[in-house]
Subunit: 120 residues, 2 copies
Amino acid sequence: MKWNPYAAECPTRQLLDRISNKWVVLILGLLVDGPKRFSVLKREIDGISQKMLSQTLRNLEHDGLLTRRAFPTVPVTVEYELTPLGQSLNVAVDPLRKWATGNMTKVFRARERVECRTSE
Amino acid sequence: MKWNPYAAECPTRQLLDRISNKWVVLILGLLVDGPKRFSVLKREIDGISQKMLSQTLRNLEHDGLLTRRAFPTVPVTVEYELTPLGQSLNVAVDPLRKWATGNMTKVFRARERVECRTSE
DNA sequence: CAGAATCCGTAAGGATACTG
DNA sequence: CAGTATCCTTACGGATTCTG
C-alpha cells in the first residue's frame, strides 16, 4: 500500500491535518518525560481552553498516541501518558517546536523587510 | 531573550500556529528540490483551492520562507522557491510528513480498537 | 478535579466570477 | 497563467454552566 498525503482522499491527508496543530505539538512536548494530569497540562499550556484540551486529548487517545488513566480518588484524578506511538510522533514534531523558538528572530527580520517595502 | 510557545502571548505561539498546518507542510515538501510554478503546485497538491494556495504562499513569503519571482511572459509566469530559512523549516517538518505516511496503519489499528470498545 | 454540554461569534476555507 | 475579490457556509474555538 502506498500512502500519499498529496492525494486529497488519502487518509494520511487527514492524519497530517490532525497532527499538524499547535495544541498537539505543545501537548506532546509536555508529556515526553512522564504522565501528567489534566489540570497540570491546562496550567502549563497558557491560554488553552479546557474544551480544546479535552478535545485534543480525546483525539490523541483515539489515534493511539496516548493513554488515559483515571484514579478513583476524591475528586477524581486523571493521567495522560504517551504510548510508544505517541513518543515516536513527538520525536517528529520536536524539530518543529525547536525551529519556532530558534528562528523567531529571523522571521521577525523578514517581516520587517516586507513592511518597509510596502510602505515605499 | 527567551522564546516560549507555552506562553500565550509569545510570538512563537503564533509562529507555531502558522507553520503547523497541512498546507505549509505539503507546499514545503514540493519545493525542496527547486522552484515551482503556481499552477504546478496547485496541480500537485490535490484538493487545495487557489485561495488557500495563494494565501499560504503569501504568508510563507511574508515570513521569509520562500521567494516569489514573476517573469514578464505572456501570460505571466510565477515561480516560488525556498529561501535558506525555508529550507531549514522543511527539514523540521519533513519528519512529520514521513511520520504520517509511515504510521497510518498503526493509527488505523488504534482506531479500530476504540470502536470495538465503544460497541460493547 | 476532570470533564460534558450548550451557546455563540469569528474566522477558515470552498465556489464562483472577474482581471492583468 | 496567476492571481484578487466576493459571497457564503461550515467548523473552530472561547465562555459559561452543570455534573460525578
